[in-house]
Symmetry: C2
Subunit: 385 residues, 2 copies
Amino acid sequence: MDSFATLYKEALFSNVISFWENHSVDWKNGGYFSCLDRSGKIYDTDKFIWLQGRQAWTFSMLYNEVEKNPAWLNISQNGITFLEQKARNPKGKFYFSTMADGRPLVAAYNIFSDCFATMAFAQYGKATQDAHYMNLAKSTFDQILARQSNPKGKYEKKTGNRPLKGFSLPMILSNLVLELEHILDSDTVEHTLDQCIHEVMQVFRDKESGLIYENVYPDGKKSDCFDGRLLNPGHGIEAMWFMMDIAKRRQDQTLMDQAISSVLSILDYAWDPEFGGIFYFMDSKGHPPQQLEWDQKLWWVHLETLVALAKAYEHKPSAEIKSWLQKVHNYSWQHFADPENDEWFGYLNRRGEVLLDLKGGKWKGCFHVPRALYQCYQSFEKSNI
Amino acid sequence: MDSFATLYKEALFSNVISFWENHSVDWKNGGYFSCLDRSGKIYDTDKFIWLQGRQAWTFSMLYNEVEKNPAWLNISQNGITFLEQKARNPKGKFYFSTMADGRPLVAAYNIFSDCFATMAFAQYGKATQDAHYMNLAKSTFDQILARQSNPKGKYEKKTGNRPLKGFSLPMILSNLVLELEHILDSDTVEHTLDQCIHEVMQVFRDKESGLIYENVYPDGKKSDCFDGRLLNPGHGIEAMWFMMDIAKRRQDQTLMDQAISSVLSILDYAWDPEFGGIFYFMDSKGHPPQQLEWDQKLWWVHLETLVALAKAYEHKPSAEIKSWLQKVHNYSWQHFADPENDEWFGYLNRRGEVLLDLKGGKWKGCFHVPRALYQCYQSFEKSNI
């Protein structure tokens, strides 16, 4: 039997990257089509800016980390040009979605469009060593920091009466700042990392249970309301591997141990005892969540968990981690991998049956599958498994 | 065996209205708690303004139509006071949600809060013959009409580049205007009805298939995008019984026939051939919908369908309608009615298993179940079934 390392590496290049190379690139307008059916056929041509940034990032990242393949750089450039020329409003904020030709459809209310564009510019700048793109990454990053306390601006519908803050932005910043390490000065990097570690591990992580809450009061206090009770296990686990990367970089064993411990706590809590797989949303008090999709099994949740377990095993091998790794590996390859076509399914029902047979859509693009396969095979090679 | 009429009437009063009377009223702050678990216990105290208006409406409607029960009027008043005193922003627009004590949580971005408040004020005004509440209904209605072309105001995230219009507002106006018939002058009523019939039947209804599209261009042209392909079968069927009410009032047999025909077309299209029940969302071209909950079976969809079939059978009895009525009746009573407790379940998975065992939440309150049971038993009595 192939090693994990071989399996993940081969799937990445022969099954996943090839899929996006062959089916998604919009050479005419720039950017990428992400709405691809099971076989790769385009079923909708709208462009979702999260996914434009993420795919441009993926191809530059592979160029930087794996192989100086000019075809990859070319595909990345096709998205970078679209992002720069068509995806920004006059104030430099990124739309949420556009038509195929770039006419904006949904306004720049969502700061994560900007986050993924920043990642893309930074990787493309590294690939080309073009100062223009590094500057673009830097200025977009600065704009994100400036919007941090009120990311939605006029589109914010919540009053200030229950001032909860959300986990997503501190979580993503902890990854973004490392993506921009070649661009930011080291004081900014270290200072931002300090802040992110504090937010993620001290404010949003519950020290007793190890679970990550999606919304808390600024001091970390819990709120007994729908938002305050909400758990998104995949989100928490993904953040924990960001923390492991920081822990490795800083040689901070305490942070590493805490992050690994939280991954295992979240898995214990969120693994479906009846049908297997990790729940999408949970209520920390066991009340009915508002999210009707709460019991579905999503590709990114399981792939980010594989990354977290691969890194946990690399840094602190144990039988418990190995056992979870095998379990999540088996579930994922049996349910998400498509035996007949390339790429992975994204959306399964609670029983693990395919709910939507798309390979890409509004939220699923060229990102979690390739990034996870890449992160996993790198880590498995180090662990020699 | 009991007749349909007896079954629905008994369930309404002994099983459903009693549930909300016993468990939901917040006598301290005014208004109602809607987040009630399977047995009626409150699991969250936030107040969602749609449901405040809808419950106040339900109790006044029963007072007006069934019995001058002072307890019902009292419960309605408890919501009316909350709506008037706590649920409006300084400009008179209704919040989306508040805390139990009325402190606003989510701003007035959603015009349907205003629609359901209007319905409530109008029924309560009819019950009490208090001009103050009739005026409040009228002024809120006028404000809705004034906001009609841009209901979300500054919260609208869509650019004008694909100017689709949504079905919800014309649909709800066709019901709302009849709710306000005792308050509006008859020219306004007839003129608004003309507009609503045109919008619903000529613009959003596809004449060939009989299906109702959720979003179309102003002239009814279809758009091949996610929004443009979206079907919400329960929504379409509910609108068809609003049309039947108008057809009956106007003695318009053509409108009646068209509405009945669309109900049957939508049912043929949206009935799950494998597990039974009506899908929540569908894509008119069979592409994957964006709504992950697309295959779930929701209480309101099935209850509104029962109303539509009851009225269709009352006005134009046929074996086909009777057969659908029996089929939807069987499915609903077997899956949504709770054999152990009062009220109905709201959310089932595709297989008809309970997905969330709440009796009330953010979107489910004292409205669709009692209104449908009332409408059905009235209609069944006339049909003598």
